[in-house]
Subunit: 402 residues, 2 copies
């Protein structure tokens, strides 16, 4: 091959491929003959999709639940994270006997396109140059994430999902699934989500991106090639974002004005307060598991999300005629994706007489409540899933497949 | 002088002194014989206080109003800013015939200690080294700001203020004035304030500080000496903070998801959205008028503010026996200093039967409402000031002094 002769790194020198060698789970490879047509007009190829599955697919492939992850989530929803060693981000929700019961359901969770945990993203090598994409990676959208998941389901021979579920950016994907592939979804559970990203949320994302881009180690996005790492910028971005995931009440309950390992303020710029120490820790540990360019791309995808805009400004049009059964869930203290944003979706669904239930969970934990121990939330999930399972006569079906 | 012979820069080579040469207004010079005893235990000297006055002090010096500025404010409350050329930040409130009527009152506004508009701060030369203080400047507190203002009033021969007023960090100073110098204050108007900085607010400040410190041009605080400027870090800090000054409703009304000079999204990282462009502008212009180290010091002073903690955890004790007449004002959409924080102060004042009135102004403009055109707010100010003027028989007194 001409390129190899000219010294182009072999495939196993590729940064993303090296990472994949150590990732638990599965890889779907889409070759140059099956490019992914993106919203920006680019035909992306090759594409790898990294995913995890939990539970067993039944004989008629009717018990599949697709779990969509949030901005900094990944496919390790219910298994140990390979970098941090921590339990999966939804390990309280997915598992045997849990609200998403892996004794009854086959759960799929894939890393989003543009991500950094094995699915093709800016860490990958650009086949046109043999160098990491960096900012040459095409800007992706929520719809592109869903398109990638559709390809994954096709490869698994799953025609119709029993359920698609996700929180935050995951909820955006759920809504996109329901709007664009209504025949492939029985039930949809968008949690702590919205049908569009608000001005305030775009603003917070922009701060994070500017923090990353202001870090000289970012090198215009070419840090991989230049051997640097924009940890400081990414850490600041994470700190700013993390505040928005919590409520004032949660911060107050957790930390208040408590001091960190000291009896009195030190009249300096060390982390006197526990909340400072906690935030710094959040920033520092995040950079070990996340890629700065991926953060840029995924935040951008969220900013661009606006379902009504794609339907002449009328959100209801996105869902007209749908048979999907919706359960929207919000949390009372979530100010990033407040209940009012879920209500906008509920009103749109009501306007077309869709089958929709809506629950606002009382919680003081803010946006992150969807990742935390919230028994009422778990009960709602379990009830809605059970109800739909009975409705389509799925109960007990999984046993045959295992 | 030995130092001069050794090549130490002459006084007029001093960065802060150079800046002072071009500042409108007045300077109070406190020499080495009159140091300022700070909360951290340092005796700071020399100290310069840069201040503006508007209106005329009457014969018995009873018509003085002290205006306390916020985090990024300065003494140019009612006059053109020397750097930006913009009108003073309270030019709608202070002036002839305005709520703070300079035909009747003598208005004083000084730059806070630790600031960067002429009052001694980290830009100044450390007399011990002849070099800019940078992080060798002592950490200051809200009480230190008030102490500095007391020295200014002493120098002007003003025994008792007719009123002390301020918003946000200015409100913290107002509360400190009332608590510590009740005999020197007739009326106190803390606006959009709190008696302590919350965990969430400390968290946002910490993000800003980390953004500044992550900028390699910050050079451990020695950027003046090393000829660099941490503009990128300070700009990110300002962007993050600026979001907290606005409400979601204000951002939505002002920008929504409107695009900036384009018909469609560009699938890139330019400022596609108006809110991004606006935020970037806020960041970029801020660095022209503000010093990064001063930002660190002043945010820290706010973080440390906790009046109850200084009184055995009982806020009311800070004000016991006071004759000060209070008017607290909050804004309904302010989530940085929400109404609940003002209520905490009102409850404490009620508990000691203080003279207190409290108004929550309906506004969707967020924390920044105290700087914006809010007619109801102006009416409340004017009414409270008129009432107190009549009560102490001040009306018409100013005429004799002009």
């Amino acid at each position: 091959m001409a390129n190899a002769e000219a010294g182009r790194p072999a495939q196993n020198e590729d940064f993303a491929e090296k990472q994949r060698e150590n990732l638990p789970g599965h890889l779907l490879r889409l070759g140059a003959d099956a490019p992914l047509r993106l919203d920006c007009g680019v035909d992306l190829a090759p594409v790898t999709v990294a995913y995890m599955t939990y539970g067993t697919l039944n004989a008629d492939k009717s018990n599949a639940i697709l779990v969509c992850h949030a901005l900094t989530g990944d496919q390790f929803a219910a298994s140990t994270h390979p970098v941090t060693g921590k339990p999966g981000w939804w390990s309280e929700i997915i598992g045997p006997g849990k609200p998403i019961d892996t004794d009854r359901f086959f759960v799929i969770c894939s890393n989003v396109i543009g991500g950094c945990m094995g699915t093709t993203g800016p860490l990958d090598s650009n086949p046109a140059t043999g160098k990491p994409y960096g900012l040459e990676f095409p800007v992706i959208t929520i719809r592109d994430m869903v398109r990638t998941q559709v390809r994954l389901l096709d490869s698994l021979g799953i025609g119709k999902l029993f359920c698609v579920i996700g929180g935050s950016m995951g909820a955006m994907q759920v809504l996109q699934w329901a709007a664009e592939y209504p025949d492939r979804v029985h039930a949809a559970i968008p949690i702590a989500g919205a049908a569009r990203h608000t001005a305030q949320n775009i603003a917070f994302h922009e701060v994070g991106r500017q923090a990353i881009m202001a870090d000289p180690a970012w090198r215009g996005g070419n840090y991989l090639l230049e051997g640097s790492k924009p940890s400081a910028g990414l850490s600041v971005a994470r700190m700013a974002a993390h505040i928005t995931y919590l409520s004032e009440a949660a911060l107050h309950r957790k930390f208040g004005r408590n001091l960190q390992d000291r009896q009195a303020i030190t009249f300096g710029f060390d982390a006197d307060f526990q909340v400072e120490s906690y935030l710094r820790h959040q920033g520092i540990t995040f950079v070990d598991r996340f890629d700065a360019n991926a953060y840029l791309y995924i935040t951008r995808a969220m900013d661009y999300f606006d379902m009504a805009a794609e339907h002449g400004g009328v959100l209801a049009e996105a869902f007209r005629g749908t048979d999907v059964r919706f359960c929207l869930i919000s949390f009372s203290s979530d100010w990033l994706f407040p209940t009012s944003e879920s209500r906008v979706v509920v009103h749109a669904l009501n306007a077309i007489a869709a089958n929709v239930s809506f629950v606002e969970i009382e919680s003081d934990k803010g946006h992150d409540a969807f990742l935390l121990h919230e028994p009422e939330f778990f009960n709602v999930l379990e009830g809605f899933i059970r109800g739909n399972e009975e409705r389509i006569g799925l109960s007990g079906a999984a046993a045959g497949g295992s």
